[in-house]
């Protein structure tokens, strides 16, 4: 079974984000770049499915600059089989990203596309759902458990108020939530093997997708800062303040 895992390069979650004063974005000089944590979970899930079924191929995909190869190599080192890098330096909105992935899906014909529910820089949480609609496929977002029996897939989803289970026939799109799995570290032999695995670069214009952005970010500003608070000396003082000063208890 072929599984396609689109992934995104994002700043490491531990990075202190600094907003540029001219409103054009974030400072990148101190940024360590990593695979979006939710996409890492997607790679891990794809590998586990392949291992369970004892057959299949895990193909990684990213849309970005040439140096995003690094993140693809990390995924290959985890155990994915090959990778595709759609090279683009244009700003792309989520609809354009979904359309580009759809082109690759049409060519590769995977049975399953698994990706992170959201990129931790953009926080849009849209691409997986948009891709599913473009392909006319079922979607299961915020997956915390995935079961595949033949052509049938059952997914437990983390929703408000509890866990919802949905089912459908493949092919489908699944987006990952935090508790789906814990991604493995790339082993040293894995890192060595990754160097020889296929990584193809494809210019985005060759795909014939309309990339005109319909959503534009005009400016990025820092949020207003909270006023500094104070430390209290005891529980008694805290409760008194909450009762008398803040009038909340």
């Amino acid at each position: 079974m072929k599984i396609l895992v689109p992934l995104k390069r994002v700043p490491d979650p531990a990075t202190t984000i600094r907003i540029l004063p001219d409103g054009t974005g974030i400072a990148t000089d101190n940024v360590k770049w990593v695979i979006n944590p939710f996409d890492e979970i997607a790679i891990e899930e794809a590998l586990r499915i392949k291992e369970r079924l004892k057959t299949g191929e895990v193909v990684l995909l990213t849309i970005g600059q040439s140096n995003w190869q690094e993140q693809l190599r990390t995924g290959l080192a985890m155990g994915a089989d090959r990778a595709k890098l759609i090279v683009s330096d244009k700003p792309l909105d989520t609809l354009a990203i979904a359309r580009v992935i759809a082109e690759v899906v049409a060519e590769e014909q995977p049975k399953l596309v698994i990706l992170g529910k959201q990129a931790i820089d953009d926080d849009s949480n849209q691409v997986g759902q948009m891709l599913a609609e473009i392909m006319g496929w079922p979607q299961a977002t915020f997956a915390s458990k995935v079961d595949i029996e033949g052509e049938r897939c059952t997914v437990v989803r983390e929703v408000d108020g509890g866990l919802e289970t949905v089912a459908f026939a493949l092919p489908a799109v699944i987006t990952t939530d935090l508790r789906l799995n814990e991604p493995r570290y790339a082993s040293l032999p894995g890192i060595m093997k990754a160097r020889k695995k296929e990584l193809k670069e494809i210019p985005i214009d060759s795909l014939g997708v309309d990339l005109t952005p319909k959503l534009k970010i005009k400016e990025l500003k820092a949020p207003p800062k909270r006023q500094a608070g104070r430390k209290v000396g005891s529980v008694e003082e805290l409760v008194k303040l909450l009762h008398e000063e803040a009038k909340l208890i």
Binding site: D160, L220, P223
Partner: protein
């Protein structure tokens, strides 16, 4: 100028507060764009529910009915809603960024070939919106082009719509739905029932972190304080990952965003991703034994103490206060 269509989510024959938030945001967008706000209630038999939605000042409420809409499923709902958008010529389609809103609206947007802005906190007069990025460390001013624009709103960024002086007209419509094209099956919903206030609606939230060390401690140490205060209970991602509490309690960038009047963080260090989910709370209290914990940088009142002593003490102090 096209109308604003609001998707009114419902569960158990009831609209959660988040739906009233969506209606209010829809009314605001309509006001600012010189348009009308129409509310859509989808389901198998939803006329009664639509009458309830009619209390909040929309120009019209549409009860969009079809057996295929009985349980929420993304493909059926996106199809029915998209057909409604086209038939009424709506320009903005809005919902709250709940789990359902997040699941549905991007699919709807793609079906309409429309751009979508997620989790917005501000609607500007010109129709541009502001939304958080980078775990709330950046606020983006976003402009969307096209005949249709899809928006989800952050549930804490707008008030719930107040009841209006007179009810909106309600119109029942059969949804345009091609059941043969639908591929998803609802299996079940394992609901976590609680007598406590809902995390996203409560005035006071008390959250526990990894510092509580076990699920048992959540029950014996934190819950007595939660209950004497009458709060909702939340948790950090670390506590949920460790299995101390169910996922439904997670507050944070990728969990629930809350903005209660009072947020008490117990044994939570205050990682950026947690702050993203609660830093708009009116008053923040932190109890942590590490005086350098980042949570103290956002706390209005900080108590450096061992939570296993401080929390029971606080529960007792509050109990005394309530009895006096």
């Amino acid at each position: 100028m096209g109308d604003v269509l609001v998707f009114a989510e419902h569960q158990h024959e009831h609209f959660p507060k988040s739906t009233l938030v969506a209606i209010n945001a829809g009314l605001e967008m309509a006001r600012k764009r010189g348009a009308q706000c129409v509310v859509a209630v989808l389901g198998e038999k939803v006329e009664a529910l639509a009458q309830t939605a009619a209390k909040y000042g929309a120009a019209k409420v549409i009860a969009l009915e079809h057996p295929g809409l009985k349980n929420y499923l993304a493909d059926a709902h996106a199809q029915a809603l998209a057909n409604l958008v086209k038939s009424i010529g709506a320009e903005y389609v809005m919902a709250t960024a709940t789990a359902r809103g997040k699941d549905l609206m991007p699919r709807l947007a793609a079906r309409l070939e429309a751009p979508m802005a997620s989790d917005i906190i501000t609607i500007n007069d010109d129709g541009t919106v502001i939304r958080p990025m980078y775990a709330g460390n950046g606020m983006a001013l976003v402009e969307m082009d096209g005949p249709v624009k899809v928006i989800t709103v952050r549930s804490t960024a707008f008030d719930a719509a107040p009841e209006a002086s007179s009810p909106s007209p309600v119109e029942k419509q059969a949804a345009n739905l091609d059941q043969g094209s639908l591929k998803m099956e609802f299996v079940n919903f394992n609901e976590i029932k609680s007598d406590r206030p809902q995390l996203t609606e409560a005035h006071i939230v008390i959250s526990g972190g990894r510092g509580l060390k076990s699920g048992e401690n959540f029950k014996t140490v934190l819950e007595p304080l939660v209950d004497v205060v009458g709060a909702a209970m939340g948790a950090s991602r670390a506590a949920v990952d460790a299995g101390f509490v169910p996922n439904d309690l997670q507050v944070g960038q990728t969990g629930k965003v809350v903005a209660p009047d009072l947020y008490i963080a117990v044994g939570i260090s205050g990682a950026i991703q947690h702050l993203a989910g609660m830093k708009d709370s009116k008053v923040i209290v932190a109890i942590n034994k590490d005086e350098d914990a980042p949570i103290f940088s956002v706390a209005d009142y900080g108590l450096v103490a061992d939570l296993f002593k401080a929390v029971p003490e606080m529960a007792e102090e509050v109990r005394k206060l309530k009895q006096s």
